[in-house]
């Protein structure tokens, strides 16, 4: 619509009380500056509140992701596992650490059959999908013995009790000790032929350094088959 100048003037005469009071109150340079600073601070606050709201979503998501492994571990402890117990599985090309809850679950699982035509050493480098298909939690040898990598308390050797708990037999005997990338690896054998290796060191070292080649090296040094 086209309006006349007089209409514009009439419209100005009806300006809101708020605008008129504001103009009357802020009647000096100092008052105006003060109000300007206050308004600017308020606008900044509103803007940052808006940004904070938008930022909250990714920050919360990142926090949840970061806390997830901790929660899983805690759940594992609640399930009856000791702190530091880990189940190291072979993935191609990296070893990854499974949740502690799996350790307890697999301890009492019947050993699955080795995929046809695979030897123990081949088994260690199975493709992830093959491992998944065979539902293996440990490295399975042809004679049914298995290798499990377990972290002990820092500086401590695994006790017979510990070995028994994992192998299921109390007469486990030490085979040898060696150092692999700064990790102390203990191997033991039981009368039933269960074979296990204990690694004393930091969990993350284990995760970081034991890649496919390391694992092959480790396996190469181990006696194969039931004694």
């Amino acid at each position: 619509m086209i309006v006349k100048r007089t209409t514009l003037s009439d419209a100005l005469s009806e300006l809101s009380d708020e605008r008129i009071e504001e103009a009357l109150e802020l009647d000096s340079a100092e008052a105006l500056r003060r109000a300007g600073r206050k308004e600017k601070a308020l606008r900044n606050e509103m803007r940052s509140r808006k940004y904070r709201r938008w930022l909250a979503v990714p920050v919360c998501a990142a926090l949840c992701l970061a806390l997830l492994p901790v929660c899983l571990r805690f759940a594992g402890r609640l399930a009856g596992n000791r702190p530091g117990e880990i189940n190291v599985q072979v993935a191609n090309p990296w070893i990854y650490v499974d949740s502690a809850a799996d350790v307890a679950a697999r301890m009492h699982t019947e050993l699955p059959a080795l995929p046809a035509g695979k030897t123990a050493r081949q088994c260690a480098v199975l493709q992830p999908e093959e491992r998944q298909a065979s539902s293996m939690g440990d490295l399975i040898f042809t004679d049914g013995s298995r290798l499990r990598l377990v972290k002990t308390e820092a500086g401590a050797e695994p006790s017979t009790d510990q070995m028994a708990r994992y192998s299921g037999y109390a007469d486990a005997e030490w085979l040898e000790t060696e150092t692999l990338h700064g990790l102390h690896v203990y191997r033991f054998r039981t009368s039933a032929g269960d074979l296990a290796a204990w690694i004393r060191g930091d969990l993350y070292y284990c995760y970081e350094y034991l890649d496919r080649e390391d694992l092959l090296k480790l396996l190469a040094g181990m006696p194969e088959g039931r004694n």
Binding site: M1, I2, V3, R5, T6, T7, L8, S9, D10, A11, L12, S13, E14, L15, S16, D17, R19, I20, E21, E22, A23, L24, E25, L26, D27, S28, A29, L32, A35, G36, E39, K40
Partner: protein
Amino acid sequence: MNETETDKRRETGCPSSAPDEAQMVDEVYRRSEAGLHRMMDCYGALLQSLSMSILHDAGEAEECVNDTWLKVWELIPPYRPAHLRSFLCKLTRQISVDRYRAAHREKRGGADADLWVELNESMMAPERSPEDAETAAAVREAIEGFLLGQDVESRVLFTRRYFFCESLQSLAERYGTDPKLLAVKMARMRGKLKKYLEKEDIYL
């Protein structure tokens, strides 16, 4: 009361506090002339200065302020203004603008116009059609919307310049700035307002 405080009071009226204003309105509502006199004491100078800014004539301005008090006496009751000071300013502004328009129309009308004015006093206060009032309300709403998007400094300068009709020189002195800079600022603001109004489908 020192000189600065007196000046301030003259410019902005009595210290604006809600209870005082409400009390004055109550008194006038009860038809107390004392209440009206208190209003005159408090806001007379402010309204005189507002009217002077529009008419540039002390005598005319005084008449406008007197008309304002008469209008207040007529309107209250039944009307009860929430903000007395701005209510008075609006009344005075409208009365002064009407008087200004009438005076200019008179000039344009030449000598005969005096006769018409004499014949019909109501011409001094031009009637507004309902359509005009409706349009003015729409424009007012648009201007309010525009001002809400501006910072406090721009809002205050705009209101002081275009509602109170304060001169650029006076504004510059009040806010400690250069009149030329202020003129540029006001021109920019007018440009922005024009664009804003056009976006709202209002053309001048």
